[in-house]
Symmetry: C2
């Protein structure tokens, strides 16, 4: 993994991924008590940053390999990113999803042209084994959600944009808060900023009780979460950072930051009210730190990723009734 | 009014107004049965396109006049646009608002540094007279919400962006649907497209029963609305088009289009679900035509403005429960 892979990804994504804007609001600055910028990847194709990495990974395959198709295992944003990237390349995509995934996500993934293979999560079927079997049988290439160099490189293009857009505002030093699951987005951004904006420091934001990355950074070794469900920030909950992402995180990022579910919902409200954007709970984690956890921060300026906006109406209604109070 | 005024406005707004993106979603194309692009001015400063015109009008004043301050009469988006533009120039702003305006809008306008003068709408106080008296007494310049050349020129910068961004997608011919109140936004965009994208036709979108512009275009003379309240699309309801905006609309725009309140709420839902954006009811009027009134349209490609996103949580919750069904 190096900056040249991210620069190559940026060329591959040019004209395909959206260059999302860098936004701010004087009202949010006031709540945070400092200058806050937001990088809304909810505006990215498929509603999350995941399209960047998926598109880059699919585009980087050699023609013959790509033509046989790709496979991914995901119940969420990575599934839609891979499905769209495959469709754009005119190649087959198989997405392995739990049969209790939200119907809308299954329907969306199918509508993007992918073949959805359901497995019985409750019966303990092993999705890794299912994916590996299908990949071998059909000659498909597995696109991993975060522990995959070309995926990390694609996510890193968001970091290149942050560096350039912040510089336009005269911002060269800042804490960059990244909504963090397995660390692909965080590692990619950190590598990009190391090269392009070395005055910035990346800090991963996670839900309280699912802070595997924070604890891994503290101990210097990969730590796992006790559970991988039971929190509304589902999009950023993974078992543990990967053996490719963690060394990058350890070298460049931290300390880790945590938020509560109430803070995530309240941040979604403020993002609704002041930025006119739809964030999902996990996508609001970084903003929640900036708005409600400022005592954990040091810089005059912070930049928050809003990593995705794929939230169902019922959950969004919960954010609305929060009125912005965590 | 001419294109040179819009080009001059674009120079004045450079580095101040946001260049909003041009977005699309395959899911929305499918509902509409044609290609649809969206120009989300809800992402503009203060949450609506109004900042463009307000900033341009304030910036175009000579220094001495501007230093005495500006005044506007508005209960909504124009108020916030003028307040922010004045603050950015370091000059006083007085906003005349009805005392039954939403507390949040009054608070926002004050938070943007403006002096808010309340009048008793129920008692029949005349806000025009109040504004005129204050303007004369304090030497303030009145910034009208739409029937004002420099305001129209500022709104027209959105049209320049549409022309350039559509061309990047290879789109030279389209119907451009504009959420239309007094016609400042519509006229500005139409003038810009006449010069930069002559294959495009601007069509104003209004709420059913408040279609003064549609009827004015049909009859060739300014028509009024019977009422100016009683519809959730409050941001785009005005008594009648102006004597500056109407001749431009008559020469370049039409036929007019209308939508129901149910269509506006359903369009807000789809904008939430697929674009991850917050639209106010009036701001979703153009999208409502594209999604639910396609039989009124002729082109393979339409471009919809989303004119603003200043909606209270209670109203947005109504859009969420619509599930996208008009």
């Amino acid at each position: 993994m190096n900056i040249e892979m991210i620069r190559a990804a940026q060329k591959r994504l040019d004209g395909h991924a959206r260059k999302t804007p860098l936004l701010s609001s004087p009202f949010l600055d006031e709540i945070a008590g400092r200058r806050v910028f937001f990088k809304p990847e909810c505006l990215q194709h498929t509603g999350s940053f995941k399209y960047r990495g998926a598109r880059n990974a699919v585009a980087a395959l050699d023609d013959e390999t790509r033509a046989r198709g790709v496979i991914a295992s995901s119940s969420g944003n990575h599934a839609q990113g891979v499905a769209l990237a495959a469709r754009e390349h005119g190649v087959p995509a198989v997405i392995v999803m739990p049969d209790d995934a939200p119907q809308l996500k299954i329907a969306n993934t199918r509508a993007l042209g992918a073949e959805v293979v359901l497995y019985d999560r409750a019966a303990g079927e092993d999705r890794e084994a299912i994916s590996a079997d299908l990949a071998q049988a059909r000659g498909l290439t597995l696109i991993r959600p975060f522990n995959e160099p070309q995926v990390i490189a694609g996510q890193g293009t968001c970091g290149l944009e942050i560096a350039a857009q912040a510089a336009e505002h005269g911002v060269l030093e800042a804490e960059v808060l990244v909504c963090c699951g397995g660390g692909g987005f965080t590692a990619g951004i950190a590598l990009a900023l190391e090269a392009e904006a070395p005055g910035m420091r990346v800090r991963p934001a996670e839900p309280e009780g699912f802070d595997d990355v924070k604890r891994s950074l503290e101990t210097g070794a990969i730590q796992s979460n006790a559970a991988t469900s039971g929190n509304i920030c589902d999009a950023i909950i993974t078992p543990a950072p990967g053996d490719i992402t963690f060394p990058i995180l350890h070298r460049l990022c931290g300390p880790g930051l945590t938020i509560t579910e109430g803070q995530a919902l309240a941040a979604m409200f403020h993002i609704f009210e002041r930025l006119k954007l739809v964030a999902e709970p996990g996508g609001a984690a970084a903003a929640a730190v900036a708005l409600f956890g400022g005592d954990q921060l040091e810089s005059d300026t912070v930049i928050c990723t809003i990593s995705g906006g794929n939230v169902d109406p019922h959950m969004f209604a919960r954010a609305l009734v929060s009125k912005g109070q965590p």
